[in-house]
């Protein structure tokens, strides 16, 4: 409804344009013959058809629609909290978007990042000797537009980590990366006929994104104060 009201002034402008275009027969009286009009209109339709065919080849991928938030169990639990409680092994493997392994024998490790300011969770474990495991966990990211909510986490950029002597550096992909996504909504009569609501607001929310770093039990960890680092309680 709001969308309708917002284009209302536009409609009035349109009416004025139409009045000029169509009512004033004199404007078109001399300009176009039947053959010319036919040619132009056939051209217009072919243009539409060609564009329709071309549009099928635009890079596209299927959106993960979020139909009903409460129904999805994995959305209700917070992965960060879960991991913090020592439940890292129970996290869905699909949520671990990247993993690295670095051999490391030093006594202390410095954590650093360029722009990344989200969570880093550190698990000290006896299982590891002389190496460090780094995981990047990417949970769902819901973005609501109009009446559609979808999970766009797969389009968020991957992170990188670099190991230099005693520093583990979290590297962002690019400065101020902008990912432009778009989708085609069905026109309103279509939506109406499939029973889709015309109105309503999509749901925007996101789950956790964090680095999970497993280190040997006695490794000293240092980090600057602007990093949000926590330890697994076990």
């Amino acid at each position: 409804m709001a969308a309708f009201l917002s284009i209302l002034p536009l409609i009035f402008i349109m009416i004025i344009i139409l009045w000029l275009v169509a009512v004033n027969k004199r404007l078109t009286r001399k300009s176009l013959t039947l053959r010319q009009s036919k040619l132009i209109f056939v051209g217009y339709i072919s243009f539409l058809l060609i564009a329709t065919v071309f549009s099928l080849f635009l890079p596209s991928s299927e959106a993960k629609l979020i139909k009903n938030l409460t129904l999805r169990e994995d959305m209700t639990d917070n992965l960060f909290m879960k991991a913090q409680q020592g439940g890292f092994s129970s996290i869905d493997q699909q949520r671990i978007s990247q993993s690295w392994e670095f051999p490391y024998t030093g006594d202390s490790l410095t954590l650093s990042s360029d722009y990344y300011d989200e969570g880093i969770l550190i698990e000290r474990t006896n299982e590891l000797k002389g190496k460090i495991e780094v995981y990047f966990i990417k949970d769902w990211q819901a973005l609501g537009v109009n009446s559609v909510s979808m999970d766009v986490s797969e389009y968020t950029p991957d992170m990188d980590v670099e190991m230099t002597s005693d520093t583990l550096m979290v590297v962002s992909p690019e400065e101020e990366l902008i990912i432009e996504l778009a989708f085609s909504e069905l026109a309103f009569p279509m939506k109406q006929m499939i029973g889709e609501s015309q109105f309503g607001h999509g749901y925007s929310s996101s789950g956790s994104r964090f680095f999970y770093i497993r280190v040997p039990q006695d490794l000293q960890i240092e980090f600057s104060e602007y990093l949000y680092v926590d330890y697994v309680n076990n």
Binding site: W19, F41, S55, G144, V152, L181, L186, M190, G202
Partner: protein, 247 residues
């Protein structure tokens, strides 16, 4: 010289053919209107965005709804135009009576509306491409609704019916004003009055009429509502114009 017998359908067909050639301006206007609609659609029908320190995620919606709405306005305006004196004079230059004039107008409007609906639906592709180019879209997401091919057909038919409803409204309004200029004043009165009649306690005025069509989710019921409205509107227009003096 002997008299020639005529059948109504024969004359209607001839007038219809003549109109297809004579009223090319209607299709030129359709084109202009839809191109404007397509260009305006680039602004997008809504957007969402998420941003953190590392990246920004923008989602914009492309939709041909605006093109359809503008096509409805086009249908409305053209239907009004077709009832005006200058168009009528073109008709009565050759063989015609009021019924054949109305019927050929209606068949022509139906044709124009079918073309309008088809091109409006086809505009989706152009809008997507323009979107892609102008918004610098990385990836187009396709929404897979749980719908059968029949639902798309229903949607396309609903689009046509909306455009036809607009045309019928325009034709009726046009005929009313041709019949008597003073009827223009009556129109809002009738519209508001009608609303009070249909209005229930909970629903305020105008929303009701919009709801009657726009919030009808059953295809069959919508089809019925639209077709009955179109038939009543056309019938009224024919009745009104049957006493109209021409040339």
């Amino acid at each position: 010289m002997s008299l020639t017998k005529v059948s109504l359908s024969n004359v209607v067909l001839k007038q219809y053919r003549y109109k297809l050639k004579a009223y090319t301006g209607v299709f030129m206007a359709l084109m202009v209107v839809q191109v404007i609609g397509i260009l305006l659609s680039i602004a997008g029908g809504g957007s969402g965005s998420f941003s953190n320190n590392v990246y920004t995620l923008d989602v914009t919606v492309s939709s041909s709804s605006l093109v359809i709405v503008l096509t409805m306005i086009w249908a409305f305006m053209n239907a009004i135009l077709m009832t005006t004196k200058s168009y009528r004079e073109d008709d009565f230059t050759f063989v015609s009576n009021r019924l054949s004039y109305n019927l050929s107008n209606m068949v022509f409007l139906l044709t124009a509306c079918i073309i309008g609906a088809a091109t409006a639906l086809l505009s989706t592709g152009v809008i997507r491409i323009l979107f892609y180019l102008i918004h610098d879209v990385d990836i187009f997401l396709t929404l897979t609704y749980q719908v059968a091919i029949g639902d798309y057909f229903a949607g396309a038919l609903a689009t046509l019916l909306y455009i036809l409803l607009a045309a019928t409204a325009g034709y009726l309004v046009g005929m009313m004003t041709q019949f008597n200029k003073r009827l223009i004043i009556l129109l809002p009165v009738i519209l508001v009055g009608l609303n009070y009649v249909v209005q229930s306690n909970a629903n305020p005025g105008f929303v009701n009429i919009l709801k009657f069509y726009f919030m009808e989710y059953s295809f069959t019921v919508f089809l019925l509502k639209a077709i009955v409205t179109i038939l009543i509107g056309s019938g009224l227009a024919i009745l009104l114009s049957n006493r109209l003096e021409v040339r």
